[in-house]
């Protein structure tokens, strides 16, 4: 659980755990004592603005970056100390579709099979067949969506327990995004694997994920189930706070006419959240995310005349 999200006790069943994870690039702090737990079998959205540390977190999990402090475990294995053992348990989809320009789709699967002893090429091939992606097509002639699907098929073909997806939707059109998420959902449900999906497009992950982690300024601002995030927050104007609620952050409301404030409700960790109704009203996920991102940036510049 994050700084504002309460403590998690689910580390025993967590597929990915970070403890006090810090990473600096010279003077810039990318991750600042990050504590995060991704329960096994969940699809967690890792949301945050550009520069929040999402990619760095995933790269540390892939042993591409060495943490300055703290540690991370992927399926119980520290990737920096036991890289090959950790990477056997991880399927990775990079930010931009990483394809070899001169190789065909089938060549990519052959290469994956030669590099990863447990790679299930038939499984990946079936996935690509279902999407109508020709195996003999050169990868550099694939569309952006097809390239992303190829990356996902390779990651799924590893039959890894944990999937780390670093903003795979960023460069895709809405239809390609929808298809990508559907393939991911089907695979994760069928295999019972765990996915950490990094994105800054909240609407895309809203339907796909069951858990939300918000990163801002290198810190975890919120880490909880998606439903809880909606239920335990309220968005009002700054002058009318819900009783006993704590202000999270203020930002310009829709239309840009009014400064809105996100509030965390009192007793937010209990069922019913505000304890006032049997069918509690909810806040949109986008508002929750915006509130926490605004908290990370401060409210300077949001005052209206």
């Amino acid at each position: 659980m994050g700084a504002d999200g309460g403590a998690s006790t689910a580390t025993a069943t967590a597929a990915l755990v970070a403890h006090g994870l810090s990473k600096r690039f010279r003077k810039k702090v990318a991750l600042d004592s990050v504590d995060l737990s991704v329960p096994a079998g969940s699809i967690t959205a890792l949301v945050g603005p550009n520069g929040a540390g999402k990619t760095t977190l995933i790269r540390v999990c892939m042993a591409f970056e060495r943490p300055n402090a703290g540690r991370v475990e992927v399926d119980g294995v520290d990737p920096w100390r036991h890289r090959s053992e950790a990477l056997r348990r991880v399927g990775y989809v990079p930010q931009t579709p990483a394809v070899y320009r001169g190789l065909s789709v089938e060549d990519h699967l052959a290469m994956a099979r030669s590099l990863h002893s447990g790679f299930d090429a038939d499984y990946a091939r079936r996935r690509l067949d279902q999407l109508g992606i020709p195996l003999d097509q050169r990868a550099d002639t694939l569309s952006g969506g097809q390239g992303a699907q190829l990356g996902l098929a390779i990651a799924l073909g590893t039959r890894a327990k944990v999937l780390l997806l670093d903003e795979p939707l960023a460069n895709l059109d809405p239809l390609a995004r929808r298809e990508f998420i559907q393939v991911l959902l089907d695979a994760v449900r069928a295999e019972g694997s765990t996915a950490l999906l990094s994105s800054h497009i909240v609407t895309d992950v809203e339907d796909a994920c069951d858990r939300l982690a918000i990163l801002g300024g290198g810190k975890v601002r919120l880490d909880c189930p998606l439903e809880e995030a909606r239920r335990t927050h309220r968005l009002t104007d700054a002058d009318s706070p819900p009783p006993g609620a704590t202000a999270v952050g203020s930002f310009l409301g829709k239309g840009g006419q009014k400064v809105m404030t996100l509030w965390r409700l009192a007793g937010a960790d209990t069922d019913g959240a505000d304890g006032q109704s049997a069918a509690p009203e909810t806040t949109s996920l986008e508002d929750v995310v915006l509130g926490y991102l605004a908290a990370g940036r401060g409210t300077a510049g949001l005052q209206l005349n």
């Binding site: 970056e65 053992e85 990775y92 990483a98 394809v99 070899y100 190789l103 060549d107 030669s114 990863h116």
Partner: protein, 383 residues
């Protein structure tokens, strides 16, 4: 592993094709040029002739008109554009092939963002790199062997009557050396590509380093590493180099060199070994070198004073400049105070030991570069 080698070739198809085509064309070109020279069938004795000038008339060739025509044809081929192109390319091909294939091997993966994909799939980056390097070796070794053998054949045709395995003429640019040069350039450039993560900087630095090493290699090796193999030139009479048309050529019959008499850096030769070629009895003449042939590998010149190695500037010695008395008669200095230059060289009989030693150094360099690349690829970021 075969799949990975094949996929590496496909991934680097431009470099693979370019190197293969250039090497095949170069091999064929060198063999054709060698055939053109050999097919002239110039008798070795023809090379001993010289042009004689009498008045304003056309100079005549002392070995006869037939020889003159043959030698002119030979020289025409030897100095022709195709021959020069082939010889320059033979010199550069191993280095260029190693650089062109080695630079993008890792660097392009980092530039194009494919390294994270491969490194995420392969638990061991070292194994991943080894697979790619193996593909490079599989391509380079047979191609460079073919080029090296063609260069060997061409050298034999350029120096008719000379055993190319007992002469150091262009020895670094033929035979198995081409393979080892290519491997060293390849390993070095792979390492640079791994360090920089960029192809062009790796190529530029590799070209500069390779040219420097190639130029400095022979004098460096001869003066330092091969020094124990050097013997005084006076003990090698009959194996000296000479120039075509210069005097009567040189006798081939060697006085058996004594490698064990090579100088030690501290002691040098005894005073009795001072050279005085004019006072030595001439060895029996049994044949002539056709033209300039380097049968020995120049090593270094050592200055001796009073029979001991002298490491200062001999021109500053008091007895070096001639002194005159009041009558203008020269005052001859004490010979023991005069500096004495002694040439050392490595005889052609040491050809194979030299080849083995220098090949070993190149191979060792390749392995060291490879080890650095393997260490670094494990540490570096994939972007």
């Amino acid at each position: 592993m075969i799949t990975r080698i094949w996929l590496t070739f496909k991934q680097h198809r431009f470099e693979t094709l370019a190197i293969t085509v250039v090497c095949v064309v170069l091999t064929v070109g060198a063999l054709i040029e060698a055939y053109r020279l050999s097919s002239l069938n110039v008798p070795i004795s023809c090379f001993n002739g010289s042009y004689e000038f009498s008045g304003l008339g056309t100079p005549t060739y002392s070995a006869g008109a037939h020889c003159q025509a043959l030698v002119d044809s030979f020289m025409g081929l030897q100095n022709g554009l195709p021959m020069n192109l082939v010889r320059i390319m033979l010199l550069l091909a191993p280095l260029l092939a190693g650089i062109v294939l080695g630079a993008p091997l890792v660097a392009r993966e980092i530039e194009q963002g494919t390294a994270p994909l491969s490194w995420a799939l392969s638990g061991s980056r070292r194994r991943w790199l080894l697979g790619k390097v193996l593909a490079g070796v599989v391509l380079l070794v047979p191609l460079m062997l073919a080029v090296g053998l063609a260069a060997e054949v061409l050298e034999g045709a350029l120096d008719p009557g000379v055993d190319t395995h007992a002469a150091f003429q262009n020895y670094l640019g033929r035979g198995s050396f081409d393979v080892f040069w290519a491997l060293a350039a390849f390993a070095g450039t792979v390492t640079l590509g791994t360090l920089f993560g960029r192809t062009m900087p790796a190529v530029i630095v590799a070209v500069i380093v390779c040219l420097f090493v190639r130029v400095a290699w022979e004098p460096g090796m001869a003066r330092i590493v091969l020094r124990p193999m050097a013997v005084e030139r006076t003990q090698m009479q009959g194996q000296f180099q000479t120039f075509y048309g210069g005097g009567n050529g040189v006798v081939i019959a060697p006085i058996a060199p004594t490698p064990s008499s090579g100088p030690s850096p501290s002691g040098g030769p005894s005073p009795s070994s001072e050279p005085s070629p004019s006072s030595e009895p001439s060895p029996p003449v049994i044949g002539y070198m056709p033209y300039w042939v380097q049968t020995d590998l120049y090593s270094y010149t050592q200055v001796f004073l009073d029979g001991k190695p002298f490491y200062g500037d001999p021109y500053t010695l008091p007895g070096y400049q001639m002194q005159f008395d009041a009558s203008g008669n020269p005052i001859y200095p004490d010979p023991s105070t005069m500096p004495n230059w002694v040439d050392y060289a490595i005889p052609g009989s040491q050809y194979w030991p030299v080849v083995a030693l220098e090949s070993g150094f190149l191979l060792l360099g390749s392995l060291v570069f490879g080890a650095v690349a393997l260490l670094w690829v494990d540490r570096r970021r994939p972007y």
